[in-house]
Amino acid sequence: MANQSRVPGQECAPPISTQPDPERRTFLIQGGTLTGLVSFGLLGAPSAGVISPESLPAESGRTGIVEAFGGIPATGDQVHVTVPSTVDDGAVVPVSVESSLPDTREILIVVEKNPIPLAARVRIPEGTDAFVSMRIKVAESGDIRALVRAGGQMYTASAQTKVTVGGCS
């Protein structure tokens, strides 16, 4: 739209031409082969010390968050973060995180240079794979970091992406 400017680092999404309405949801669900029967029900561990994205200092960046959670560097085969090495539009950046660490309970996605670094916090119940994929906004080139809570410890790994036009958080 003409009245919506696009200032890298300030704007967070491409101009919206039609107001989207949260009226419809689309599912694409593929049933696959079934292995075993896992029915532990709700979250195995209570989400102790839940930190909402807003409760983190806006400028905390990576250091603040990693300190807050105490991430131990994970090896590439323990935690794998996948992002495109370059993206044109920072408003829509696909990211996926997969953990092979036993007893993975949570995956957090942190965009180190975003005004609000913590993009999402995903709780993984028993029976769900330690994998999540989503699309995030990235203000500028830098590291996309995953924090993984597994076996009572927090681990961390990251991957770099280069953004042509930033889409701030």
Partner: protein, 89 residues
């Protein structure tokens, strides 16, 4: 193993975006999502406005059977709640 792809149409306004008039588009984004299959929680997430517009979540879980109802509920920063259901194919 069941693979789920969930699309939640939502503006996910960060509150940082400006209009040409110098105003700020108010923040409006999904804050919490819960996904259950036949009553069992298979994923829960807290989202920030750094999740892209129309959040698309992909994940995998065990124990899902064709015909099981999968239910997605969310609440956004304005307090709006929404829940929808589909069936595992």
């Amino acid at each position: 193993m069941t693979e789920a792809l969930v699309l939640m149409p939502h503006p996910m306004e960060s509150g940082f975006r400006r209009t040409g008039q110098g105003g700020v588009v108010p923040a409006h984004y999904i804050t919490e999502v819960q996904i259950t299959v036949a009553g069992r929680t298979v994923l829960e997430a807290t989202l920030s406005p750094a999740v892209a517009r129309d959040p698309l979540l992909s994940f995998r879980f065990r124990g899902g059977r064709p015909g099981d109802p999968i239910r997605v509920s969310w609440v956004d920063s304005t307090g709006v709640r929404r829940a929808d259901e589909a069936v595992i194919a």
